[in-house]
């Protein structure tokens, strides 16, 4: 091999890898990103799956992208433009609906219609969740200290964490403890009485997660999804102009502006090592590229058992990777529509179609959907989070026509009998039939239907078992335990080989936090 042209090679052009590349390039490291597919983004991609219709194929909305990353990389200049979702509507089985709007007064009036008590509670609840998001924010941006270590760095980190928790005061600390340990249903039961409200709120506790609203641990996932900020407003979700692929492209543009090189159609087969250090990578084409640093944006299973020879890794690490749970449970149905869906509960066009539609009429509905999946079937009556991107960004579809993105829980990766084509279609049918109960004209509008099972997600993006977070967001594999104890600081036992994907702290969602923290750690280590 010729002497390295690159200081660092990033394996995988997903958003975390791109963020890491941008930060490294900004620090004058000669950086190369290698992406297997023809387009960048991993699970944050926009594709014209049907002529004239652009789908945010996998991820579809954004909230958690770290403000410091947006700032540091000047992403708005590179095309980042997030348009807030203005509402969430939950159709109810009795023909009524529950809506929440970006205007707090409107939301309060709407909630009062169903439960005046809940309308009051929602104000206090919102304030508390804001404080909780603030309480967790510093933890998101910190490299997890190792509680079993005695190194000064770790002890300092632990002390800082301890001081931070004490500074919350007992009331907020206890509230945080509850959020970290309870089920979302139990947590919400303490605040609210109106079931569809509880169900809609608890639904963010089951996103991408193989838990039901009654499962302990789902309140954490609820909090995780609350942590997003848009323009300083917590808990605001938005739609990127051009689809989530444009987020990836914006980050890539920033990386290139700092000098990073990006190659697509360049899948990495192996990471090359000698004497316990990386020397570069080998592409599936056979081409070898040298570098002293290789950063994997792939998930922990691929990072540790596919890209490198497991003989190079200690048994405990491999055991931890074996125990690390993926368990994809989400599906996606993307539709090209010839017109607008008509919601029976709110007929006609209106601002509500520019927001999200949540199929979550009750906690029992969600819990039963989970029960189906536990025993290896997709939910007969699934939870669905629906947006119509073309209502927010008309460029996503031809004039008068629309794209609809439907995120679905649950579709277990390990389906009884496996995901055959027939099963995929049956899953798609279940989704459409469920939606048709609330928007009867939907079937007549469908020009094209794309159904993605966890099996498809794995096959296309590489995400093991189709888990959208590169591993479950469960307490036993978060923070200093993510992905495995002792290797939760982005390093690996192989010198020069790093991890920067969502399989590290703070986990998944389009956050970019892992990519940034990894890059910062790399820069600290070389210094």
């Amino acid at each position: 091999m010729s002497p390295p042209r690159y200081d660092a090679i990033i394996v995988g052009g997903g958003h975390n890898g791109l963020v890491a590349a941008a930060y490294l390039a900004r620090a004058d490291r000669k950086t190369l990103v290698l992406e297997r597919r023809p387009m960048l983004g991993g699970a944050a991609v926009t594709e014209e799956v049907y002529p004239g219709f652009k789908f945010s194929v996998f991820s579809y909305v954004v909230s958690l992208l770290r403000p410091e990353i947006i700032r540091d990389l000047d992403l708005p200049r590179h095309g980042l433009q997030i348009l807030p979702l203005e509402s969430t509507v939950t159709p109810l089985d009795n023909g009524d609906y529950l809506a929440s709007w970006s205007d707090p007064d409107e939301t309060r009036r709407e909630l009062c219609r169903h439960s005046p008590r809940d309308a009051d509670a929602a104000v206090v609840f919102g304030r508390l969740m804001h404080h909780m998001a603030m309480a967790v924010k510093p933890i998101i941006g910190m490299v997890p200290p190792d509680p079993a270590s005695l190194s000064p760095g770790d002890l300092a980190g632990l002390l800082k964490l301890g001081r931070h928790f004490r500074s919350l005061g007992p009331e907020r600390f206890h509230a945080l403890h509850k959020l970290m340990t309870m089920s979302s249903a139990d947590y919400l039961d303490e605040w609210f009485e109106f079931d569809p409200l509880k169900a809609t709120k608890s639904a963010s506790g089951i996103i991408g997660t193989f838990l039901g609203p009654r499962s302990p641990g789902s309140a954490y996932v609820l909090l995780h999804h609350y942590m997003g900020e848009i323009d300083g407003a917590f808990r605001a979700w938005g739609f990127q102009k051009g689809g989530t692929g444009s987020i990836s492209n914006a980050i890539a543009s920033a990386a290139r502006a700092h000098g990073a090189e990006i190659r697509t159609d360049a899948g990495v087969e192996r990471v090359l090592t000698r004497d316990g250090r990386v020397t570069g990578v080998a592409l599936s084409s056979g081409e070898e590229i040298a570098a002293g640093l290789v950063v994997s944006g792939l998930d922990p299973r691929l990072t540790f058992t596919r890209l490198v020879d497991t003989k190079e890794l200690p048994g405990e690490l491999l055991e931890g990777v074996r125990r690390y749970k993926f368990r994809g449970s989400s599906g996606k149905v993307n539709l090209a529509l010839s017109g607008l869906p008509n919601l029976s509960c709110m007929p006609g066009e209106g601002p509500h179609l520019r927001g999200a539609i949540s199929i979550s009429p009750s906690i029992e509905y969600l819990e039963r959907a989970y029960d189906d999946a536990k025993y290896g079937e997709f939910s007969r009556n699934p939870y669905m989070d629906i947006v119509i991107p073309s209502m927010i960004d008309p460029n996503m579809a031809p004039p008068g026509k629309h794209v609809m993105s439907i995120f679905v829980q649950y579709a277990p990766y390990a389906l009884n009998g496996g995901w055959t084509d027939a099963k995929r279609e049956a899953f798609g049918d279940a989704v459409v039939k469920t939606l048709a109960r609330y928007a009867p004209n939907i079937e007549s509008l469908i020009l094209h239907r794309q159904v993605l099972t966890p099996d498809d997600i794995e096959r296309i993006t590489g995400l093991s078992e189709g888990n959208i977070f590169q591993g479950e967001l469960a307490l036993q594999q978060l923070f200093f335990l993510r992905p495995v104890p002792e290797w939760a600081k982005y390093r690996t036992p192989i010198h020069g080989y790093w991890q920067c994907g969502a399989g590290t702290h703070p986990g998944g969602g389009i956050m970019g936090a892992s990519g940034r923290l990894a890059a910062l750690e790399i820069m600290k280590s070389a210094a």
């Binding site: 004490r166 600390f173 509230a175 340990t181 009654r214 499962s215 641990g217 029992e364 036993q476 002792e486």
Partner: protein, 533 residues
């Protein structure tokens, strides 16, 4: 001197009340213990459920007796019964996997099901023992509190910290990891044999309204293993001298330390004046004064039924009302003409627990029903024959069998209630489950008594029929038990303390909370006396 007749009134004559009373008496305080029932013992109480037949349905595993408590009360000679196998789990009718406490013999029993599992059994049981051992340390100290600031509060934390580090790197991480884990995951990570996994997993859902797939059941498993020797995966086992052994010995100790014990003495009200307790009003209307009151009854009951809300912060009351209890276990006691025949196990195995649920998915399916307010179609049933270790429970060489069934949720679907009909149906379901592995079982039954969660609430004073006095969720333990910020056994009312299973360290620990509460009372007294001086 003092106008008060007693220094402390202890409400409740279960293990916590008896231990607290004895400890306070030993420290020289004048203690009055009030027990609502005619007998002491709380959950270990023997009930004559049919003429000539007695059982302690809630006392099948009396719990862990921590050494300091045994020493303080002079109870170090209490012995457990020798049981052939702690647990035998059905593989299918006619075939059982029996797990002796002896690790090597258990491995031999496991080997035909899975050689790999047999090889891992010693390591698994050692690991569980080590983790449960650390939990024991946590349970013998006041709950760690983030708001701790005084030296007195921080010192025990440091001691705990040292014990934590002494686990070593791997086990420190394993401990933290196991707490939020589900037993499903925990056991899948270790073993392959379905019945073996089911046998151990049942300890993670015992009296807990969650399935084995739920997070936090790893913690519940560890909690139920405190005080259990290595290899005993279903708790501590019965006393050699019968279910009342601890109660009788503790009562003796209490009396020896000068405690006045009154049974048939319910409490109707706890009297408060100017934010301080003044005494109680008994069921018959008698007012009894005291400087301090320690309630070992359910915390929510204590505050919501016995204390005038005018003295309490609305948020505190709200939190008390929000404590999740979720009793979901029903018990059935049978008076038998003779021992049942269970093909596949010998009669001596029935001195331990027999579990009729062969797989973890079956446990999970049983748990599903409770979420929707229904009784499991195929409940998880376990049973034991206490007369094999305590023959005196039945006359004339006959036998008693006690079964536990989950899930029978206290809160049923709208329209359904716990009444004679639903009790009967449940009793029949349990009988049917036993009959399926023991032909002719039904023909040997002389009498049968069923306790639904509603019955447990009435007969044993358990709110929502919850044996735990407050679900063992990770948000309802330590400094969160019984409510956030009040994990130290004191309450917002001066002189009023909580020391039952609804407080740290929780259920299944004989005298655990009572002992810590008594120490709190004594240290508060000392501080007040010093302040006055």
């Amino acid at each position: 001197m003092s106008a008060f007749r007693h220094d402390v009134i202890v409400i409740g004559g279960g293990s916590n009340g008896l231990v607290a009373a004895a400890c306070l008496g030993r420290a020289g305080l004048r203690v009055l213990l009030l027990e609502r029932d005619e007998k002491l013992g709380g959950q270990s109480r023997l009930v004559e459920f049919a003429p000539g037949f007695r059982a302690a349905p809630l006392g099948l595993d009396p719990g862990w007796l921590p050494d300091p408590i045994a020493s303080a009360l002079g109870l170090t000679s209490l012995k457990r019964a020798e049981v052939a196998a702690d647990i035998s789990v059905m593989v299918e009718p006619g075939t059982f996997l029996s797990l002796p406490r002896d690790v090597a013999r258990a491995a031999e029993a496991i080997a035909p099901h899975s050689a790999a599992d047999a090889a891992k059994w010693p390591e698994f049981t050692a690991r569980m023992r080590k983790l449960a051992g650390f939990l024991e340390s946590v349970y013998q100290a006041p709950a760690p509190d983030i708001a701790a600031s005084s030296l007195g509060e921080l010192v025990p934390l440091l001691g705990l910290g040292r014990k934590f580090r002494a686990l070593g790197r791997r086990d420190m991480v394993e401990f933290l990891r196991t707490l939020p884990l589900s037993v499903w995951e925990l056991l899948d990570d270790w073993f392959e044999s379905a019945p073996l996994k089911a046998a151990v997993a049942a300890g993670g859902i015992q009296d807990h309204q969650q399935g084995p797939r739920s997070g936090g059941t790893g913690f519940v498993l560890l909690h139920n293993l405190v005080g259990a020797p290595q290899g005993a995966v279903r708790g501590r086992g019965p006393w050699r001298d019968g279910p009342e052994a601890f109660t009788l010995a503790a009562e003796q100790a209490a009396r020896r330390f000068g405690v006045t014990v009154r049974t048939d003495a319910a409490v109707r009200q706890i009297r408060v004046q100017d934010d301080a307790v003044t005494g109680v009003i008994a069921g018959d209307g008698e007012e009894i004064t005291a400087k301090a009151v320690l309630s070992t009854a359910n915390p929510a009951r204590t505050f919501l039924e016995w204390v005038d809300p005018v003295w309490l912060d609305p948020e505190f009351l709200h939190a008390m009302g929000n404590i999740r209890h979720r009793g979901c276990t029903a018990f059935v006691a049978y008076a038998l003409e003779r021992l049942p025949d269970v093909p596949g196990i010998g009669s001596d195995a029935m001195a331990g627990m027999i579990s009729l649920t062969a797989t973890i998915p079956a446990l999970e399916r049983a748990a599903d029903a409770a979420k929707y307010g229904m009784v499991s179609e195929r409940p998880h049933v376990e049973f034991t024959v206490p007369t094999l270790t305590a023959p005196q429970l039945a006359t004339g060489g006959r036998h008693v069998l006690v079964a536990r069934a989950q899930y029978a949720p206290y809160r049923l679907r709208p329209g359904a209630i716990w009444d004679a009909a639903s009790r009967d149906a449940l009793g029949k379901a349990v009988t049917g489950a036993i009959e399926a592995v023991s032909p002719c079982f039904q023909s040997r039954v002389l009498h049968q008594a069923t306790w639904t969660p509603r019955d447990l609430e009435e007969r044993f004073g358990l709110r929502e029929g919850a044996v735990s006095h407050g679900e063992l969720g990770l948000d309802q333990i330590l400094f969160m038990r019984p409510v956030a910020g009040w994990g130290g056994h004191s309450t917002p009312i001066q002189g009023l303390y909580l020391g039952g299973a609804g407080s740290h360290p929780g259920p299944g620990i004989l005298g655990g909370a009572g002992w810590l509460a008594s120490r709190r009372i004594l240290s508060d007294r000392k501080r007040r006396i010093e302040a006055r001086a």
